[in-house]
């Protein structure tokens, strides 16, 4: 075999490995989904969704966990969206190129890399203890809001950057103030991109477990929360506690809860990808 043939062989071998590895991810995903659906689908019914958690695995449901997740997400949205979009607008449209701005940017990049459990410790120290909100929905939502803020800020900035400067100039030239221009031209044009970022941030938040454990989410919440100061559980928390129980029935219940959590996560991601494609097409024109 000459050199040329040898090189060709190596090239083809690597290509095959590349294909295998690329499909490996999909294969693992398929195994994961198959095993979980096989184990948990028998639990997916109306009772499972509307029952309280229980010590008996076959009776246990995810009612309070789902409601906790919905409440927590709602509050997180209310807190993080205005702050995240506002900060993004500030950095993109107002901030001058000073050292302080550079510091802000480096800081945001760094925050995005801080492990989520550290945010839990922050929440525990500040919201739970210092402000004395306790292990409440409010503490959880504030903690998650800080956690996803970098994602929303970065998405907002990217979306605003994509708005052609000619549109902003046109608005200024007609006598619009900066805020009028942002409100009437910049935000409507960047809406799709910002929305995509928010949904992706939410899909990240909905699966978070570690920071909520630290902040004090409960493993067992037998009642529906009424106020933001109530204790709470969430779907991932419920999955975690069921996973750590030795009784076999709980693994099945956990699988059922995972199916619900994955549906929520995948739907959110799908919607985000849909908006992203639609928005990119619109910008392309």
């Amino acid at each position: 075999m000459n050199n040329l043939q040898k090189n060709k062989l190596i090239d083809n071998a690597f290509k095959t490995i590349g294909i295998l590895f690329t499909y490996l991810g999909i294969l693992i995903l398929a195994i994961l989904l198959y095993k979980i659906i096989a184990a948990g689908s028998s639990r997916i019914n109306w009772d499972f969704l509307t029952s309280l958690p229980s010590r008996k695995p076959e009776k246990a449901g995810i009612y309070t966990a789902i409601l906790g997740t919905l409440d927590l997400m709602m509050l997180t949205i209310i807190i993080s969206i205005p702050i995240g979009i506002g900060a993004g607008i500030y950095l993109e449209e107002y901030a001058k190129k000073t050292k302080l701005t550079t510091l802000l940017e480096i800081n945001i990049a760094n925050l995005a890399g801080v492990p989520s459990i550290i945010y839990g410790l922050l929440g525990l120290g500040i919201f739970v203890r210092f402000f004395n909100f306790g292990g409440s929905i409010l503490s959880g939502a504030l903690t998650l809001s800080l956690l996803i803020l970098p994602i929303i800020i970065v998405a907002t900035r990217e979306a605003i950057k994509a708005v052609p400067s000619s549109l902003k100039e046109a608005s200024f030239a007609l006598g619009a103030t900066k805020w009028q221009t942002i409100q009437k031209v910049v935000l409507p044009s960047s809406f799709g991109g910002i929305l995509t970022g928010i949904i992706l941030a939410m899909s990240r938040a909905i699966g978070e477990t570690a920071p909520l454990i630290v902040v004090g989410a409960m493993a067992y919440v037998p009642f529906v929360p009424h106020s933001v100061f109530d204790t709470f559980s969430v779907l991932p928390m419920q999955i975690f506690t069921w996973t750590t129980r030795p009784k076999a029935g709980f693994a099945i219940a956990a699988s059922g809860a995972i199916i619900i959590l994955l549906i929520l996560t995948f739907v959110m991601n799908g919607v985000a990808v849909y908006f992203r494609n639609k928005w990119q097409k619109k910008l392309g024109n």
Partner: protein, 271 residues
């Protein structure tokens, strides 16, 4: 430095002779820098009301920068700074009391590429009115119609006012952008190479329009196209390397230029 001193002498054109009315805009010893780059060098000029003045010169000569001084569009560039005086209607537009938004309502601008908002045709023209806080639907509708009529676009779009402005052709878009500017009722309109992105037919219609608009507005147009400057402008200013080389009645600039540089440029020897 010696060259600058020489150029300063060149710039001294007896403006009194060519300006027959009270001036609408006057600029005195204007210097503009972008960081360390000296973009405009001690330019002085006066511009008459209800005239079309063309700024010509090779790209990078500073003419667009100079134009953007008139409605303070340079303000957003952080490295921009200037030294000199510019008055519109006798008022210093860089004075402490100047309201930039008010200034821009008076001094409208049309850009190189048509830049309609991704909104409906109607909302594009109504934009300037809405940001002024005008809510009366009748007034807005009336002004939109008038503005679109002034740019001869009304007949083409009157049934499609709700359609996206992005669906219009390039020439229509540029006329829409002019209508959008007119709706705010400015007295000066700045045009930064308004036809450079358009086909010849659309260009001709915009040129006709500029000629008509002169009756009501003072127009300053930056152009690369010397034929265009000679067709539509009353006065022409030739810029080169940040200097105002020659400024005179258009017919004189194009038939009997005083400076060699001007002659070289208009005869196509460089640029």
């Amino acid at each position: 430095m010696t060259t600058t001193t020489k150029n300063r002498k060149i710039e001294k054109i007896p403006q009194e002779n060519i300006l027959d009315n009270a001036s609408k805009i006057s600029i005195k010893e204007m210097d503009i820098w972008y960081g360390a780059f000296h973009a405009i060098k001690e330019v002085s000029m006066k511009i008459n009301p209800n005239t079309v003045t063309a700024f010509i010169g090779p790209s990078g000569c500073g003419k667009s920068t100079f134009l953007r001084l008139f409605n303070r569009m340079n303000d957003y560039i952080e490295s921009f700074h200037f030294d000199g005086k510019i008055k519109i209607d006798g008022k210093n537009i860089y004075g402490k009391k100047t309201n930039i938004e008010e200034l821009r309502k008076k001094v409208g601008m049309v850009f190189q590429k048509p830049n309609p908002f991704p909104k409906s045709i109607f909302e594009n023209v109504a934009y300037g009115l809405r940001i002024q806080g005008i809510k009366d639907k009748k007034i807005i509708a009336e002004r939109v119609e008038n503005s679109l009529k002034q740019v001869a676009l009304w007949e083409e779009v009157k049934n499609d006012l709700k359609k996206s402005a992005l669906a219009l052709s390039g020439g229509q878009q540029q006329r829409l952008c002019i209508a959008r500017t007119l709706a705010v009722q400015p007295s000066v309109i700045l045009m930064d190479e308004p036809t450079s992105a358009l086909d010849p037919i659309s260009t001709a219609s915009i040129e006709d329009l500029i000629f008509k608009l002169k009756e009501k507005y003072t127009i300053i147009i930056v152009t690369h196209n010397m034929q265009q400057a000679s067709r539509i402008s009353d006065y022409t200013a030739f810029f080169y390397m940040g200097n105002l080389v020659e400024y005179n009645k258009t017919e004189l600039i194009f038939t009997k230029p005083e400076k060699k540089q001007t002659e070289n440029y208009i005869s196509g020897k460089f640029g």
